[in-house]
């Protein structure tokens, strides 16, 4: 993270090594085989079925914030093993090596269409985006930073839930992050949430459900208990879209489902709308 991944990542996308597996991607949903270049250009949304594939935190930042505007904070926070939980230390080490970062929650300052923001992005590839002490601490520090600096906060969520390896410490991150949201709320700092695939359990039951505006990517899994749990309990009664963005929209829990390519202008518009300084706004183009 701390070593210019943005540029490196971009270079990778622009000049893929020309082996078959690099040239082609397969849609995880409809299994359509797509030119990797087209897949990347389409922001990892399947051109055939519209499936929004998961992004790493770096990819998300790249397509969301202004070029080179992101400065990470607290990137060196790392987990301890307070419970001496079986295999946790080893899993952490493996995750560090696999992802090149110390935690799945990447936070920092950035700009979107020139508007300064505090932004956090969850990376599901780091231990399933599970929220442990480090994610919680980074979110709270981001929110406290935003409050001090009067910056709006944007969080991209993705999580399988609390990190059970940290036991009650991880449960308490729900209270801790939500208390930080309460302070943002009191200070009237805009707080925007983008639910991405998948956002569940303890994260959905805390800061992810507390945005002034809650957006969700199309087709994302969004639910409290795992869908498997639900299925076992209730069988065929479940609606087809159970625990998706679409289900949550229908049930009044989110404001809008947004196609990935519309996300940046949508966020920019909301930032301008809520921005404390803004008194007059120019009409945006019709892309919103």
């Amino acid at each position: 993270m701390r070593s210019g991944w943005l540029k490196r990542k971009k270079a990778e996308i622009q000049t893929p090594t020309e082996t078959p597996s690099d040239l082609w991607s397969t849609c995880a949903k409809c299994h359509e085989v797509v030119f990797e270049r087209d897949f990347q250009r389409n922001l990892k949304v399947c051109p055939r079925c519209g499936h929004h594939h998961r992004l790493t935190a770096e990819e998300r930042l790249e397509i969301t914030v202004d070029e080179n505007s992101f400065t990470e904070i607290n990137g060196n926070l790392a987990a301890t093993d307070p419970l001496e939980f079986p295999d946790y230390a080893a899993k952490l080490e493996a995750s560090y090596r696999a992802t090149g970062k110390y935690d799945g929650m990447i936070t920092g300052s950035a700009q979107i269409e020139g508007i300064p923001v505090a932004v956090g992005v969850a990376d599901f590839s780091f231990m399933g985006g599970s929220m442990g002490s480090v994610s919680g601490e980074k979110i709270v520090r981001l929110m406290e930073f935003a409050e001090q600096q009067s910056l709006p906060v944007i969080l991209f969520t993705a999580s399988g839930g609390a990190r059970m390896h940290e036991g009650l410490f991880s449960l308490m991150q729900m209270a801790k992050t939500s208390a930080a949201v309460a302070r943002l709320d009191r200070s009237r700092i805009p707080y925007l949430v983008v639910l991405t695939d998948p956002t569940t359990a303890g994260v959905l039951a805390s800061y992810a459900s507390l945005g002034d505006v809650i957006l969700a990517e199309a087709g994302a899994v969004v639910g409290f208990a795992g869908r498997r749990v639900g299925n076992q309990e209730l069988g065929a009664r479940l609606p087809a879209n159970f625990q998706t963005s679409e289900f949550q929209l229908e049930h009044g829990m989110i404001d809008r489902i947004v196609q990935r390519k519309e996300l940046r202008p949508t966020l920019a518009y909301l930032l301008r709308f809520f921005g404390a300084e803004v008194e007059e706004m120019e009409d945006a183009d019709q892309s919103i």
Partner: protein
């Protein structure tokens, strides 16, 4: 009350059996005939039983604690409410959708002082269990709790919450009506409530469902209660794909009151009567009453802005992390 012993209680049950034997009239006759000092014998067995119990219940494993916390004859919220408070008047409804009986709450008096008491309530018999959804609250339960907490705040009455739930309800209806939103909203609102809040985990502290009413200035926990991010069975299923390794998972999760207290996540462990709260609910209630009164008396002295700052900082500092200096590069 008939107590069904756990496995780990069998040695106690055996001594109980011996005591019963020793008390039989024939035994007494027999002893007199043989010149045996029966009273001394009984006293010896009683002492042995006390010693054994003290030892046993001081060294319960996390899984044994889990069983204690879930024990069907353990006092529930309404049992404590009846013993600890006077003039409890139950209030119903979330003013939005329904009245969730997995949560009870209303005004009451604690040592003649008005408080708002809210508890998660399991059922005693099958019918009541179903009616109260086994203590698993729907969104309406959390919203009722919040409504009552706001009512308390409005009239400057302290709040007491009693936690006892396996988990929040997670089925279709709960999802449709926003169980995540309901818990999250409580977690955002409770830190800002301008009255003292004391929480006691009296039985099962089941993850988000427990936390949803547990953002207190003081969090107390009974000696044999548990508080966990996930039920041990679920943890075992995820880690080892084997729900039968729940005992092992309970150990790994360190879900006991003693651990939570060591970790600084719980402020005080309330000592239960020997053998568990269900063996002497009156004594357990007295302990709870004393602790609630003590903490409320302290909290009432703190000016509200300071109270809120302390509450924020209390949860703010929860977690364990470290700072790494070296850079990690992906492989």
């Amino acid at each position: 009350m008939q107590i069904n012993p756990f496995d780990f209680e069998r040695p106690i049950a055996e001594l109980d059996q011996i005591l019963v034997e020793l008390s039989r009239p024939e035994k007494r006759r027999e002893a007199e005939e043989q010149g045996i000092d029966l009273e001394a014998e009984i006293q010896r067995v009683e002492q042995e039983k006390q010693r054994l119990m003290r030892h046993l219940f001081a060294h319960l494993s996390p899984w044994e604690k889990t069983q204690m916390a879930r024990y069907p004859q353990r006092p529930y919220s309404l049992d404590y409410i009846r013993q600890v408070f006077d003039d409890f008047m139950e209030m119903s409804g979330d003013r939005l959708f329904g009245n969730d009986e997995a949560v009870v709450g209303g005004p009451a008096l604690l040592e003649k002082k008005p408080v708002m008491v809210i508890g998660q309530q399991k059922g005693r018999d099958l019918k009541e269990r179903q009616r109260r959804n086994f203590g698993s609250a729907y969104p309406e339960g959390f919203r009722k709790a919040l409504r009552l907490m706001k009512m308390a705040e409005k009239f400057n009455r302290p709040i007491i919450t009693l936690v006892d739930t396996p988990a929040a309800e997670a089925g279709l209806g709960a999802e449709e009506r926003g169980i995540s939103e309901a818990i999250a909203r409580n977690l955002r609102e409770m830190p800002m409530l301008a009255v003292p809040i004391v929480t006691a985990v009296i039985g099962e502290g089941g993850s988000g469902g427990a936390l949803g009413i547990a953002v207190g200035d003081r969090v107390l926990m009974f000696e044999h209660a548990t508080y966990s991010v996930i039920p041990p069975e679920g943890c075992a299923a995820i880690l080892w794909r084997d729900r039968n390794r729940a005992a092992e998972a309970a150990g790994a999760l360190k879900l006991t009151a003693q651990h939570a207290h060591c970790f600084g996540l719980v402020d005080e462990v309330l000592i239960e009567p020997l053998g568990g709260a269900h063996r002497d609910p009156m004594a357990a209630s007295a302990t709870l009453k004393k602790a609630l009164t003590h903490h409320l008396d302290q909290l009432r002295e703190i000016p509200v802005p300071e109270l809120l700052e302390q509450r924020y900082q209390k949860f703010r500092q929860m977690g364990r992390w470290t700072e790494r200096t070296e850079t990690v590069e992906p492989e």
